[in-house]
Amino acid sequence: MSAVITDTSQAAATPLVRLSKLNKHYGDFVAVDNLSLDIHEGEFLTFLGSSGSGKSTTLSMLAGFETPSSGEILVQGKSLINVPPHKRDIGMVFQRYSLFPHLSVRGNISFPLDIRKLAADECERRVEAMLKLVQLESFAHRRPSQLSGGQQQRVAIARALVYEPRILLMDEPLGALDKKLREDLQDELRHLHRRLGITIVYVTHDQEEAMRLSQRIAIFSHGRIVGLGTGQTLYQNPPNAFVASFLGNSNFLQGTLTGNASVQFEQQALAIKPQNLPLNSDVLLMVRPEKAQVLPLDAPTPLLTGWNEITAQVSEVVFLGDSLTCSVVTPGGSRLTVKALPHGQAPLHSGAQVRVRWAAADACVYSEWNAADLSKSAAH
């Protein structure tokens, strides 16, 4: 686990925020379990996890609404534990916007500045700039209840940015919006982050949103971070079976190690990436559906070196427009899903015998896993 959490790519930079050995208990329930994490200046980091995984609790501790049971929160080397929320200089966007209903859009945005007793002209200038940034100039006099959900959320973002906080926290800010609007706002947010260079910590349970927005993703499960890295790394090289099954779709094949780079799977020998594990140990192979190919039995295509091939029977074919999803069952009863491009090939029918191929380099190998990790339903 610790190997996962230490991120080597940005280790040189001193972190803006350091969470160290953070715990939060509610009675017997462990919401956050010995969590350590570095957040770097200017990065867009997303906490991704299902509900109850501790991501929102961690964010609340960062904001100061929850006090950690133990552990330390450091911002630029200074402890935040005993600093009340209003002195933390952190911006936050809430899931249900939480605008001040008694104030206009302008009043909402200028609220943090009024509290800080900024000079009137400076306040005016900043509010105007923010209204422009979130494109709500013509709505400045309206009450929040007179705005749409997307507009309200833009006001909330403006309110959180206007006092130029060091860190912006966002707690599932787009969760209440419909899909189209959500995607538009995701793009806006990404551009905003690029323009302002502010550090953003974003909480979501939507992996697509996490991928679309963030530079780094921290995957939460049972109060721990079980995967940390760029979306690409986490998807292509999941550090463990949980992350593999949580992010995207995955096929798992259980086998026994017969050599440094070979596995016995249902009476078939498969090549894998070289492992440093004892012989005869159980291993789990993970192949992404889009990395596997499905071919009819009589296809003349030769098997390339470094590729594996197994035979299986098609159980279902689903057409999805840009792809075909083909479910197959091996003679040993393992189920695989293969994403095939619907071109050139002879159509596949359920019941047909096929060959399934993948490159050994595309399969990830795990020596430890929980049965619960493998079913996607367990993650939700």
Partner: protein, 307 residues
């Protein structure tokens, strides 16, 4: 009488709307709006016969007896004894509103904040006190406040005072007793308003940099405003016309308007002056009610529920 005749044109309108399809959209809307009006008839008839007609009669007495003219009103404002009654009424109503707000606000807040079960219990206690007989509650205050009462004898035995404090049969007693009686009328609307406030909005206030004190004054209090206004105005209006408590806890020297009206009617059979005073009370109440309606329409909670 006039009221009773009202639904008839509406019914005509509805009939016309169904006959004239060209004007359907506008008058159709009107017809829908007035469709249920006939069902109002019994209530309007009742109100007209037993409320409006007697009220009109009362108001007429104010300008007709003993001689036609505005003499009664002149008397009411000219005489220093009568204007003192008016002053007492307003002073007591204002003080009662202030004290019941000061006591009711924290109570409503406590009910809102306490976890479900206990909050309900607190609310039930408030309701129970409201449902207990007014006379019983007022007499209990008499027991507590009189010169040989619980409070005075306790304070005397502690050596804090030598002479019993005069806390009853004067305006002090009236203010104390009425503030207590009015608390539920503050707590109920205020608690409803407070429980409708999203607690995340207060968190938003604090993350924006507002200390708990500033959050209270700049976010929480403005959001409670509709409850404060509706509760406060209700208490103020009710206090203006309250009779039982002032009659029992107040003194003969410092009367309030309702006591004055009863005295004029029962002791002096001066219906003219009593009617004028009653008319004044009604006018004040109507003006306050108008103010209340105006403020309610502008309140943030009203606009958010309108959505």
């Amino acid at each position: 009488m006039k009221m009773a005749a009202r639904p008839t044109p509406a019914a005509n309108l509805a009939a016309r709307a169904s006959r004239a399809p060209t004007a359907q959209s506008h008058s159709g809307e009107q017809a829908v709006r007035w469709r249920g009006a006939t069902y109002l008839l019994p209530a309007l008839l009742f109100l007209g016969l037993f409320f409006l007609v007697p009220l009109l009669g009362l108001l007429l007495r104010g300008v007709l007896e003993p001689t036609p003219g505005l003499g009664n009103y002149e008397q009411l404002f000219a005489s220093s004894a009568y204007s003192k009654v008016l002053f007492n009424t307003f002073a007591v109503a204002s003080l009662v509103t202030l004290f019941s707000l000061l006591l009711g606000f924290p109570l409503a807040w406590a009910i809102t904040l306490t976890p479900n079960g206990w909050g309900r219990w607190l609310l039930n206690i408030v309701l129970l006190s409201m449902w207990t007989s007014l006379l019983a509650r007022t007499y209990s205050w008499l027991v507590l406040l009189q010169s040989s009462g619980v409070i005075n004898s306790t304070l005397q035995s502690l050596g804090l005072i030598n002479e019993p404090l005069a806390m009853v049969h004067n305006l002090t007693g009236v203010v104390i007793g009425m503030s207590y009686i009015m608390i539920p009328f503050i707590v109920l609307p205020l608690q409803a308003t407070m429980s409708a406030i999203d607690p995340m909005v207060l968190q938003a206030g604090s993350i924006c940099g507002a200390s708990p004190l500033r959050s209270f004054f700049k976010v929480f209090l403005p959001l409670c405003r509709p409850g404060i206004f509706s509760g406060g105005l209700m208490v103020f209006v009710m206090s203006l016309g309250y009779y039982v408590t002032p009659a029992l806890l107040g003194g003969a020297q410092n009367m309030m308007l309702p006591e004055f009206i009863i005295q004029q009617v029962q002791s002096f059979l001066n219906w003219g002056l009593a009617s004028a005073a009653a008319a004044l009370l009604i006018l004040i109440t109507l003006v306050l009610f108008y103010v209340y309606l105006k403020l309610q329409a502008e309140s943030p909670v009203a606009s958010s529920t309108a959505r």
